[in-house]
Symmetry: C2
Subunit: 342 residues, 2 copies
DNA sequence: CTCGCCCGTTAAAACGATTTACATGACGAT
DNA sequence: ATCGTCATGTAAATCGTTTTAACGGGCGAG
């Protein structure tokens, strides 16, 4: 309610001084006495700068948009939390853009749905954009962001857009899972991979392959199968893989969602987990311990990835400069019931 | 990039006309020819109004803040999706405020964390506030919102703040779960309730109690136990309840999270689910079918609650007017393996 | 004694869209 | 022919903050 001018009047100085005091401007000098008086007035009146006016003047909205598929997915939720925390640290707020809402929306009503993200990006409503690699935003948003030169960070994969890419320690995670299975005596290990062509898919397969290679074990393409990150796809893919290479005794899954599908599908087909087949999956989720068979997972630094994405936008934090940041927090193997001795 | 004035110049009219055309102002009349020329210029130049300028002039930011505990929780995620969809429909964007991030943050660095939500509410940065009943926002935010007269909607419980409250069909959900268990022949049914004193807790217990009452079954307080919404608390509470009333054969859980705890805890103690004890829980989550014992649940209209919260803020949609909206979408019973015949 | 200079402060001009109050024009009516 | 009126369009003020350019006063140096 109180404006800058009100504070100025109350403390008998010009608005300019109040602005300087409020922003802690160090360049111009202000008498200690004046500063004290202004600060007191600010406190007493509970003055807070009007964001719209600040934005207009500074051409900075103070908002960062995070576009993910489905905020309901705990993996994305964790990223959002990290991004939110980091954004708060630099005085910015996070705008949620869940692309799944669009589908729900359009399914609901046939009329044209206004795309909030388009308006936001087009109208200088956001200072930066964090995108999920595969489809966090529409082409229109991308085009607009390019025209407006809105800084853009892409998560998980280098798909040729954005100023920077933030990656997880994908290869290492896959190495961890694979190494664990080898340690349990498994020698015929399959890989249930995510969608082909994406950076993280490649890195995880590489982790699996190189670990097997280092132990002199077989790692040919016939033991890799791709599936989108859904339960049903995981079940199908696992069935396909085992039909093709029946001698496999363990599975490294590049994502826990299809891993759950694999676990359920294989169980239904009469395989016992882990007696007949061990499953280790990348991404730990809170429910992992409570699944039909508690899942052995590799916890990824998702929170840190959210933090890094915001830091990349802000141009600060470690890894400053390069176009690619790989989160250096170690992935963590969490052994549960789904993996056992060969 | 192009401003209103640019479009005006290009289409050889005054800025006022462009503004009217852009906003579809019907009050003043504009020649069809002029309108056409302006619309074409807008399209060709890809003009989009600057949000900051609009906000400043109109005192409306176009943002709504949604404050929840933990966006990672699929229950809140679903609410967020609904709110996001409804907000998009009225041209507003959703700002995420996850209170868990503050904890994570402060745990991380000792320095004072700027509270984004405080700045936002204090600086007219949001047009409305949607709060999780138990602690979605700090007292400071609440005080500020009151002073600024920021419209406020509280979810799930009437805790004496906010202009409106949005509730789920809580009693009915509990009736559904309890009725299902009675239908399976259970007569001694306990209630694992959520935190006491909250509207939804009361309503769910009432649903349990009245359903038992209607069937002439016992429903005294010794069969009710309260637990916060965590796995560990659920395990403890279930153990407590069974120690107290050992003859219970079924459990209605007011929240699926402690229900999972109950399931795990009881299993560890040698009870078999559902053979020794059946469990039905309120809130369906995507993982429910894949838990150690697939959980029988009651799916709540969470998406709809998110929609309703935004509609309440906007003063539109059904239920317009009253201070309390109860979502009228029916809860849905989903029978799985955790409930069996008595 | 006066000229310049630094210091703290202030006045005023942005930022871009909206809207009120006013101007211009045409046209019909008297 | 003159006035009134309605239909279009325009000029200018406004929202609140930031920032640049200017301003007065005090003081040291010439």
């Amino acid at each position: 309610m109180p404006r800058l001018a009100d504070v100025a009047k109350a403390s008998k100085v010009s608005p300019a001084i109040v602005s300087r005091v409020a922003n802690g401007d160090r360049s111009l000098k202000i008498t200690a006495e004046t500063r004290r008086r202004v600060e007191q007035a600010i406190r007493e009146m509970g003055y807070r700068p009007n964001r719209a006016a600040q934005s207009l003047r500074s051409a900075q909205s103070g908002f960062i948009a995070l576009a993910v598929h489905d905020i309901t997915n705990p993996v994305y939720g964790e990223i959002a939390r990290g991004a939110g925390a980091a954004a708060a640290r630099i005085g910015k707020a996070l705008v949620m853009s869940d692309s799944s809402e669009h589908e729900a929306e359009t399914a609901h009503l046939p009329e044209t749905v206004p795309d909030t993200l388009v308006d936001l990006v087009g109208g200088h409503g956001v200072d930066g954009l964090i995108l999920q690699a595969n489809g966090g935003a529409s082409d229109q948003v991308l085009a607009l962001a390019a025209r407006e030169k809105t800084p853009m960070v892409v998560l998980q994969a280098d798909i040729g857009i954005g100023d920077q890419v933030v990656l997880l320690p994908d290869e290492q995670a896959a190495r961890l899972a694979t190494g664990h299975l080898i340690g349990l005596g498994h020698t015929r290990i399959g890989c249930l991979a995510t969608n082909p062509g994406l950076t993280f898919t490649g890195a995880r397969i590489a982790g699996w392959r190189r670990t097997l290679e280092a132990h002199g074990l077989r790692h040919d393409d016939t033991r890799v199968v791709h599936a989108p990150a859904t339960i049903a796809a995981g079940a199908d893919a696992a069935a396909t893989l085992l039909a093709r290479s029946g001698d496999i005794t363990a599975l490294v899954c590049c994502n826990i969602v299809p891993a759950i599908g694999a676990m359920m599908g294989l169980t239904e087909r009469g395989y016992r987990v882990p007696d007949d087949i061990s499953i280790a999956a990348i991404h730990d989720i809170p429910m992992a311990p409570f699944l039909k068979v508690a899942m052995t997972t590799v916890a990824m630094p998702l929170f840190e990835m959210g933090v890094a994405a915001v830091e990349a936008l802000a141009g600060c934090g470690p890894g400053d400069g390069g176009p690619v940041r790989i989160i250096d927090t170690e992935p963590r193997l969490i052994v549960r019931a789904s993996t056992g001795r060969a």
